[in-house]
Symmetry: C2
Subunit: 338 residues, 2 copies
């Protein structure tokens, strides 16, 4: 009995089945082959526990069935969810995901793109912070929430409309004096439009409007001072707040509670994203919900479709509003602060 020390190759299978190399290849790739041959090859494969070598495959064929996904991290629940959904979509189509955590560092991002190209990935999906990434033009790149450059499609939600909805909702709920709270500053950042939309809504509904914007490096605690300036012995200047993300909203609400400002009685708070913590158990707050499933599916679809010519530059999905306890209405869904 012949004993091979290393893993069996297609050649071994061909030998075992008594067929040619090309025939084995055809069987593996599901190409038409005579029934008796197919059976012989399949028998040999399972007898030898043969498994294809993806590296040899990737070397020969241009397609490697792997996609790089660039995310700042997976600790942030928004990024985690997105990663999860993209992965699910890729798996469904027999693709593998090479996850690259960039820590929001432009240098890391560039480095990972190089690595991705070396790995001959079939494409890259990225939520990036480097406004002028160098991407090899013959590799497909799909950007999430950022407009990165000419010819690179950007998938996002309707951030402008979301901001506007938040303003209208607060107006409907009786607010008169509202504020917008935001972190991050990138100009190519689609979520910027949340602010414009909110402003627009405030104007239309005649709300007094203010905003506080933190730069990228600043700690979230800097909001505390801003809020405190607007507190005068038990009275709070604002009766409505719109936060750029649910995470910011979470921090703000915690601070307000510490300062004995009641949510939603004294001030109503609306976030953005629609995060559901602990495997979709609870929303953080009343919020503008992004359809992340649709966004993830669209990224993958755009990436893998063949008609490269007809890629629209910007794809926006509609958002919805959900109340979850931080606004003065019957909560539709359970929330962290319900």
């Amino acid at each position: 009995m012949r004993k091979k020390s290393s893993a069996p190759t297609m050649k071994d299978v061909a030998l075992e089945a008594g067929v040619a190399l090309g025939t084995v290849s055809k069987v593996i790739n599901g190409l038409p082959v005579g029934e008796s041959y197919r059976l012989r090859v399949e028998a040999a494969i399972s007898k030898l526990h043969y498994q294809v070598n993806s590296y040899a495959q990737g070397l020969k064929a241009s397609r490697t069935y792997s996609v790089a996904v660039l995310m700042p991290n997976v600790s942030n629940p928004y990024f985690a969810r997105l990663t999860q959904l993209i992965n699910r979509e890729l798996t469904r189509r027999k693709y593998r995901m090479l996850l690259c955590c960039t820590e929001s560092d432009p240098a890391f991002e560039q480095e990972y793109i190089t690595i991705a190209q070396q790995n001959k990935v079939d494409g890259i999906i990225g939520l990036t912070y480097n406004p002028n990434l160098e991407v090899n033009p013959d590799i497909t790149f799909i950007s999430i929430d950022r407009t990165v450059g000419a010819g690179i499609p950007c998938v996002t939600c309707d951030n402008f409309m979301g901001g506007q909805m938040a303003a209208e909702k607060l107006a409907d709920l009786g607010c008169r004096n509202v504020a917008f709270l935001r972190v991050g500053s990138s100009l190519t950042n689609e979520p910027n439009k949340r602010r414009s939309g909110f402003e627009n809504g405030c104007l239309a509904r005649n709300l007094n409007y203010e905003s506080k914007i933190l730069q990228d490096g600043e700690p979230i605690e800097k909001f505390d001072a801003f809020l405190q300036e607007h507190m005068h012995d038990g009275r709070f200047d604002f009766d409505g707040l719109f936060c750029v993300t649910d995470m910011v909203a979470y921090h703000i609400i915690k601070f307000l509670k510490r300062m004995n400002v009641r949510v939603p009685e004294d001030v109503q708070v609306i976030g953005f994203d629609g995060l559901q913590l602990f495997e979709d158990l609870h929303y953080v707050c009343s919020t503008i919900v992004q359809p992340l499933e649709d966004i993830a599916a669209m990224c993958v679809q755009l990436l893998l479709q063949d008609n490269l010519g007809a890629k629209p530059p910007l794809i926006c999905f509609p958002v919805t509003y959900v109340s979850a306890g931080t606004t003065r209405e019957e909560p539709e869904k359970p929330g962290l602060f319900t």
Copy 2:
């Protein structure tokens, strides 16, 4: 001027630099080579924008510098954190991560292991649910929190001690009647020992002890009925609860609040894991903290070390206790319910 349509190869570089193929290979791999040769090759590389083809490399060399990481998902903050830390450790060592989300499905797990083997990964790190996975013995597998089989190292924290600490803490804080709440049932599951440790501690400190265990499929809401059975017009049978994870603790605390049982005044709650939500902003509850950094680093170290012979079967890291508002003591750290 010669125009190449496809990406440049080592051969192109050799031609451009006027050296042999092997010399280029040496330069790329940092092997000793004459100074003048090195410079010529480096110049050619940057002129042609040459990038190595990992697939050709992986085909020839046995080492591919990639590691598969099997996780149920990344939406659960515990898994997310672990993934993040493992990735960081791998990146530090120039390895790539192939993330496989198994959805806790044994069939998926097996399938991903097959894919990983086809991709000739240098090893697999997994937190799995299939008690009898078939892993090719000549591929290194490191298991987290599960004892999977003979010869497969398991990295975890000291779950038994953690359970015992929880019991002692509750006793110290004046509890007399306590309960343990758990989900999941796998017998090879290291976290099972949290229960044994807790029981042990209860015995030692003479606490009245009860436990409620949900099977794997059961929804977390099933705890509600159990808790309700122990409520008698405003009075709650337990003055201390130990939950197998912070996530279970979160759910329990939310339910108790709805039922007007006060935490920590009426009942004190301790969780397990030491999750910190929103990028390490807040602990969920008073909890037994796992040193996830150490666990992640150890997994990677074990996987990549050469002395395959001396792998201890089980590696436990010590745990610590942190109070964060759901126990009757000054909180050391801010918590979700502070």
